[in-house]
Structure formats: C-alpha cells, structure tokens
C-alpha cells in the first residue's frame, strides 16, 4: 500500500468500462479488460482464481513444457500393429477421440469399424459385423490410450501396418496408421470392396516396402522435417503437400537402395505422390510423442490431448492423469465441396487436433495462408489467428518458426487456465466428414474447441490442490 502511494497509479479496469474515463482524465494509465465471466459459471471462476499465478502450477507447467520441448520424435519403422502395440493381440480395434461405446458412435466411425472387422476377416459381412459389435465381442479402445493416434475415425486393427515413432529422450514409442488417400476411404466410414482391397494392398505391399526402405535410412527425426515444411507453406495438419514431398524424396532413394522390386517401388511412389496428406499421420505421431512427453506432471495445467470421436470432443491435461474432459463435438465452419452443406456434416472427428495441441496446425496458421482460404479469410487473418493463440499457450516452440512472422516461434502448449480466463478458444484446422458412413470428406474448415471441457478441467485441477 505504501508502495502504491509512492508510485504512479496504473490501473487495470475489469468490468464497467466507464470507470476508465476519469482515470484517463487524470493522466493515469488504465487498461480496460474486455471481460467475460470465466466459463459463465461462478464455480469455474472461483476454481480458476485459485490456480492463477500459483507457484505450484507454474513450476509444474515449466517442467511439462520442458519435456515437450525436449522430446525428439524419430521415425524408426513400419510394422503390423499386432507386432508392436500391446493391446492389438486380441479382437481389438482402436478408434479416435475419447472413449465411447458402440451405440453412441457416429455413423462414419461405425462404418469404419465394420470395415475393419471385414478386413481382419473376423466377420464376413456388414450384418454379422454389426451383430458382433453390438454384442461386445470386439474390444473398442481409444488410440490415445495405447500410444497411438489416428485421423478421422482413426481406426487401427491388428494387421494394419503402423508408423513407429520413437522418442529416445523419454524412451517411449508412438504409432499411427498409414494414410489411405482421399475419396472413399475407411477413415471416413467407407467399407466396400474397393476400400478393403486398398487396405490389403497397404498391408501386403505398402507397409513392408516402407519398412524395408526405412531400414536403409538413418532414423528420421521428424521435427526438422515438420519445421522445413512450415517454411514451405504447410501447417502439417490440413496442408501436408510440402512435407509429403519431402518424405517421398527420402523414401525414393531408400527404396531404390533396398531389395524391393521396381514395380513395387513404382506403386509406392505413385501412391505417395498422389496423396497430399500422406505425411499427416507422421505429423500426428510426432505431435503425440511431444504431448505424451509433457503429460503426467502433477499440478500442470497444460493440455496434452484434444481429440474428437464424432460425438464428443475431449481434452486431457498433464496434471489430471488419464481423465478426459468432454463436451459435445462441434460442427465445423468451413467450405463445402459442391453439392454439400453444413447439414450434411458430421460433428468434428479425429485425433488430428493433436497437431494444434502440439503448437502446429491452426496454431501455425500464419505459415500456411492457403489454409485460411477455407473460411474465406486473408493472409493477414492467418497471422492474427496465430497471434491470438499465443495468449492461451504456456510458451513458444523454437523448433517451429514462421517466415511470415519474421521467423518467430509458434505458440505451443495450451494452458487450460488461460483458455478459461480469456475465453479465447483453441482454433483447429480440420477436414469435414459426411455424417453418413462412406461418403467421405465433404469440405474443410476451421473450428474452435468447445469451452466447457476446459472449464471442467479447471475445476478438476483446482480440486487436486485442495485435496
């Protein structure tokens, strides 16, 4: 108080903006806060106030963030899921997003799971597959619970080949399925013979060829590759053109070196070069590695996963163990392919928002002005979006820089406290699936994470300190 008398008064005004006027007229400094009730709920506001600038949380976040920065996701191989993922030994299928029962799944996810049952030859047709799933004969588990991630429906079944990404710093391993391309594909719920045949080709030809090629390569550090792609106009979520090209460059030489038939190399090059999203699944596993490194620090308010299963949107928080905090999955604001509109859209789907969680994707939107066009925005908007996100992150990741912003680092590691305090919601770039299984992608756009799950997390985190 005595210090206050001896210094120049400088005010932060929270609430009635008119109170700033007399202060200004006395040449004292005043900043108006554009205040909204945190979480629109007194209990949330209260819980938040206990966490703001709390030394325990700050220290935990610092530790969590450092682990995120330290992680070094490295591509080491491609193998069938059953060989490398523990839970894949039985009749088990992994899906995207937080845990969900068969009954509550959206139609594209159901279609994809039925397709996987047929692909695995557990069931011979749709009807019997559906019956088996209804009876609970097949285990359905989230990718996120098993060190894995998957775009859209995110289906991984035991004989599917998966990327294997090691984090040697934290001695852990992560997985993601291989990208099938656009159009009629399993991850959008398509499951006819064309889709199943492609999955077989990926299992028998593509997977082994990639695996063999990789043996000829030094373990491939993914962060430098992603950083390079950011400088080439990708944000490595919804735009992976550059990264996929960079990856193909490495693979072509390695495949030629390996003992692979030239017809197969030609198929491989053809498949990858025709799929601009081929890198997405690697970007996602790298991001999963970084975020799992940050997970599990008691007291930390850093978000370590944002994931959607087409029904729920869920987040996990470093200091809150394996719990998910869920809200209904939002509908996406975007551009639709001709013949479709928002009434055809499935609510938000897939684990790919792990990219935003790790500070790329929409958080690096300024690197990828082409993406903003999905919502009719300008290049300037892409910079604004990235800057806006920096208000809700713990820090910035020097590994990822943005040429357009004078090579400043991307905002990284969302802090639930800041999301609730500012009402700025994390932005996510994403594809839009048709609500009916099998039609595929019908558009792309930008969505915001729903507020309520962050409020729940703030309440839960505050509770861990009061207990």
């Amino acid at each position: 108080m005595t210090n206050l008398f001896n210094s120049k008064l400088s005010v932060i005004n929270v609430g009635v903006s008119d109170f700033a006027e007399p202060i200004i007229s006395y040449n004292a400094k005043v900043i108006n806060v554009d205040w909204k009730p945190p979480g629109n709920d007194e209990k949330v506001a209260r819980a938040l106030s206990l966490l703001v600038n709390s030394p325990e949380v700050e220290e935990a976040n610092h530790k969590s963030f450092q682990r995120y920065l330290d992680s070094q996701p490295t591509l080491v191989g491609v193998k069938p899921a059953s060989k490398v993922i523990e839970c894949m030994n039985e009749k088990t299928i992994m899906h995207s997003g937080p845990p969900i029962t068969w009954e509550k799944m959206c139609s594209p996810m159901k279609g994809a799971i039925i397709g996987a049952c047929i692909f695995e030859e557990w069931e011979k047709d749709h009807k019997s597959a559906e019956k088996a799933l209804e009876s609970g004969a097949i285990n359905l588990v989230p990718c996120h619970h098993n060190g894995a991630v998957g775009p859209m429906a995110g289906i991984i079944s035991p004989s599917m080949p998966v990327w294997i990404v090691d984090d040697p710093i934290h001695n852990s391993t992560y997985f993601c399925n291989l990208n099938e391309g656009l159009g009629k594909v399993l991850r959008f719920g398509a499951n006819d013979s064309e889709v199943i045949n492609r999955l077989h080709w990926m299992k028998e030809i593509l997977g082994p060829a990639l695996g063999k090629s990789l043996e000829k390569l030094e373990p491939l550090k993914l962060k430098p590759l992603m950083a390079q792609a950011l400088h080439m106009g990708d944000e490595v979520h919804n735009r992976n053109v550059a990264a996929s090209g960079l990856l193909l460059k490495r693979f072509t030489a390695a495949a030629l070196d390996a003992d692979i038939k030239s017809t197969i190399i030609s198929e491989l090059v053809d498949f990858i070069s025709n799929n601009d999203h081929f890198f997405l699944n690697l970007s996602m596993s790298a991001c999963k590695a970084m975020m799992d490194a940050a997970h599990g620090v008691p007291g930390s308010s850093i978000v370590t996963a944002m994931a959607r299963n087409g029904t729920d949107f869920g987040i996990r928080v470093s200091g809150l163990g394996d719990n998910w905090y869920k809200s209904p999955a939002p509908v996406i604001n975007g551009l639709f392919f001709p013949g479709y509109d928002s009434t055809d859209a499935n609510p938000d789907l897939g684990d790919s928002s792990i990219t935003e969680t790790a500070g790329v994707g929409a958080f690096a939107m300024a690197a990828s002005p082409a993406i903003v066009q999905f919502v009719g925005g300008s290049a300037a908007d892409s910079i604004k979006n990235t800057k806006l996100m920096s208000h809700i992150t713990h820090g910035h990741n020097d590994a990822f820089t943005i040429p357009q912003m004078d090579f400043s680092a991307t905002p990284a590691c969302i802090d639930v406290r800041k999301v609730v305090d500012t009402s700025i919601m994390p932005i996510i770039n994403t594809g839009i699936a048709h609500r009916k299984a099998g039609i595929g992608q019908i558009g792309a756009g930008i969505t915001k994470a729903p507020a309520d799950c962050f409020s729940q997390a703030v309440i839960a985190l505050a509770k861990t300190f009061s207990e």
């Binding site: 206050l4 005010v11 506001a45």
Partner: protein, 519 residues
Amino acid sequence: MNMITGTRIIADLYRDSVSLMKISSRLDSLPNVIQASCIMATPANINLLLEAGLLSSEIAAEPNEVLIAIEAEDKTSLNEALDLAENELRQRASTNSNREQKSESSEPFSQEMALDINTEANLVLISTPGPYAAAEALKALKLGLNTMIFSDNVTIEDEILLKEYANKKNLMVLGPDCGTSVINGVPLGFANVVKKGNIGIVAASGTGLQQVICLIDEGGGGVSQAIGTGGRDLDSRIGGLSTIQGIKALDKDQETSVVVIISKPPSLKVVDSLIKKVKKMSKPAVFCLFGSNIEDPKVKNIYITETLEDAARTALSLSSNSIEKNIAHKNETRILELLNHVPKVSNNGRYLRALYSGGTFCYEALSLLNGKLEELHSNIAFPKSTLMSNPWESRGHTLLDLGDDLFTRGKAHPMIDFSIRNERLMEEASDPETAVILFDIVLGHCAHTDPSSAIVPIIDQIKSNKENPPPLMIGFICGTEGDPQNLFSQKSNLKKAGVLLANNNAEAVRLAAKVIENL
C-alpha cells in the same frame, strides 16, 4: 390499450450491467414503450423479467446471451425498439472490436493479458457482477496487484479470505462494495474532483467519504489519499483489516498530516483496537463513526465527531494547525439563520420523508434524529429506529436508503438512474402526512451527468398540483466546483425550483428536525 411484449436474444455477447442499464433506460424513454430491459440472460435476471411482467413465460436463453425484453403499445414501436437495442448492443461490440479479430494492440481479455501489456500496473479496479468479483480480486492479489472491489454481493467469507491474503502479501483490498476512492490524486469509481492536500481518509462508507472530501475541498483544503474499505470492514468478523492497513499507510505517507476515519455503524470491539493503534500514531486522527457512541478516549491526537461535516471541519482546522472551537454552537447558529428563509409549511403534514441515494447519509440522519424526533422508520437497521417490513410504504418519519438492493433490482444506482426516487418523490408529495421531503444530490465522476434536469421536472409537477399543497423540500448537494456536473448551475436550478438548499446532510437534517419541531 393493447400492450404487447416482445423479446430478442443476442448470442455470445457479454456487456457489463451498467452498459445494459444505460441501453435499457434509453429504450424506456422512447415514446410508445411502456417498459424495457436488456439483461445477461442468467436465471436470476430472467426471473426479474418474469416478475416485472416483461416475459410471459420461461425463455430458452443462455447466460452468455443478451436478452432484450420490451413492452410497447403497438407492434411497430416494439420492433423499432428491439432493432434499436440490438444496434446499440452490436455497435458497442464492434467498437470494442470482435474477439476473433483482435491483435496485440487491442483490449486484453484477462488481467494477465493486461499485465503483459502494462507491466507497471499496480491496482485492479473490479466492477464485475458480485459472485465473480471475489475470484477476480483473488487473481489480482495473486498477480501481486492491489485491488479496489466496486462490486457488491461479495460474501463476508470471501472478504475475510481476500483481506487476510492481501495482508500477508502487503497488498491492499479496497472494498468490496467500495464506491469511491482517491489514490494519488486519481478518482476511482464514483469520486469527486478534489484538490490535492494533506488530509488522508479511510472510510468504510462510500458517500461518507464523498461528503467529507467535498467539504474539505469547499473549505480550501485538499486530500492526500482517500481509501474506501467497504462497509463491513469494521465488522468484528473482518476486524478492520483494511482500515488498519490504511491508517498505517497514511501514518507513513509523507503527504498526509491528518487522518480521518469514517464508518457506518462499526463493531465496538474493533473500534477499541483501532483506537489503540491510532494512539500510537504520530499524526492527529478524526473519527466519525455512526451509531457507536464511542467515548472520547481523551488522547491528544484523537478527535471524535458526530457528523461528516464536523469531521471535515475538524480535519481542515487540524491540517492548518489550528483547532476550530465551538463547532456545535456555530452549527446551531447557521441552522437558525437558515430557518429564517423557510416558508411556512402550507399543508397539514407532520412527518419527515428522507429519500437518500447515499446510504451513509441515511445512517447519519438516523443518528442525528435519535432523541429529536419520535417514531423513526427506515429500511436500514439502526439502533432506536424501526426496521420497515414494507419499505415501499412510508410510515411516520421515514428515512430511506434508495441504493438498497431491494430498490435497485434491475436498475442502476439512484445516483445514476433517478426513476425510483422520482416515483417515490411523487408518492410522498401526495401523502397528506408528509411535511418535509429531504433528498441528496451526489455529483462526481460516473454519477448522473445533470441531476437537476432529472429531478426538477418532478418537483415542478408536484408544485403544480393545486389540490394538494406541496410539502417543504430540503435538499443538499454533495459535490465540488471541480466536478463535471457544474456545481453552480446544479445549485441554481434546484433553488429556482423552490428547493431549500442546505450545505450538507447534517445541516439539512437539523433544519428538517427544527421545521418539524416548530409545526
């Protein structure tokens, strides 16, 4: 007449209650609009609209939406008013610019963001809805910032928590329910424009603080700091945490040579410990504590006064190293002088009706009239007066604090919005039992920009009623020459309207008592 009501919801928009009330009162003043309200659609606010008859049934709206509800005489007027409201609301939104479009140059969304922009900030002024205010205040303290809580409806448990935390961190909590303060010469909240000087004030009362600084300014003195502590600070549960901190700070402050301590009825135990602390002070201290009957401790540096006026005058004389003698006698003489100007009360009324916008004035009046007038009724609890069970109906001598939540529900404070007081003024004037109406006019930042224009038309209307001879109207203005409303023209407008103007509340109350005694 066929009245119709209509509503409109604006999604995902937050406006503070003062902005919303301003828009509401603008809509109210439209021709053909019966009543109108813009609210944040919380369950409590929706209930208010249901009670007011602005909603006929429950409405599906979320707390993060603004609900406009209007009752009008016809459909065209209704739609026009709804459009106008929506425009006003959206305009404010666009001048504040869209959240999405914001870059680093625009308004921050949280205290932490504000602190990033201005790392030298040292005080957070909080006027959010009450239940959120404690949380914002705790955030401020945790960020190492002093805080002034303008908001009311903060629980006493929260107040204790905040003040104890602040004490540990050597930070200050002004409030809650702190309407006014002057820190380093800068007015905060509803504050008057006063000269800088050597009198420091600690007040557990908003209008009490305003009255004292105005009288100091009028008397040629100045204010070093005026610290509002919130009305409950001298409650035994709080123990005067902020008051004690304020006194200590003023004792150390080189600009301050006299300290004034004001409170609504305090806890005697707290006052005892306060006096013990003040005794150790090197500077003289003037106390004005209503309803406490504290004995003069007979210590050299402590002065006990009965009224805000006396406190101001004592502080003024101490600040110039002289001691004013015979204050009581001088007061008496002035009242007698004023009485000469009082016209004969022409009706048959016998009672005083005091309609205050400043709560402390009501306490002061009750304390002064105790023993002078029988049968005092009020909506605030005070020793030896009756707490009214129905404050909407006056009985005997009635003294009202119209800033009470009961009267202000859904409306702005009566210092800003005159509608509640004007209605009551009309009622009291038409009550044949009323002999004298007493009212205050508070000037300063954030108060009504031209109060005389809000009240004079009602007074004119009362006087024009030939069937019912008007009661005597006594008023006083709490304000300074520096205030934005122009003190001089406010005075002359009220005088022209026939209001007998006293210098301050104590004088007005004593005058009113004499008039009634002489009936």
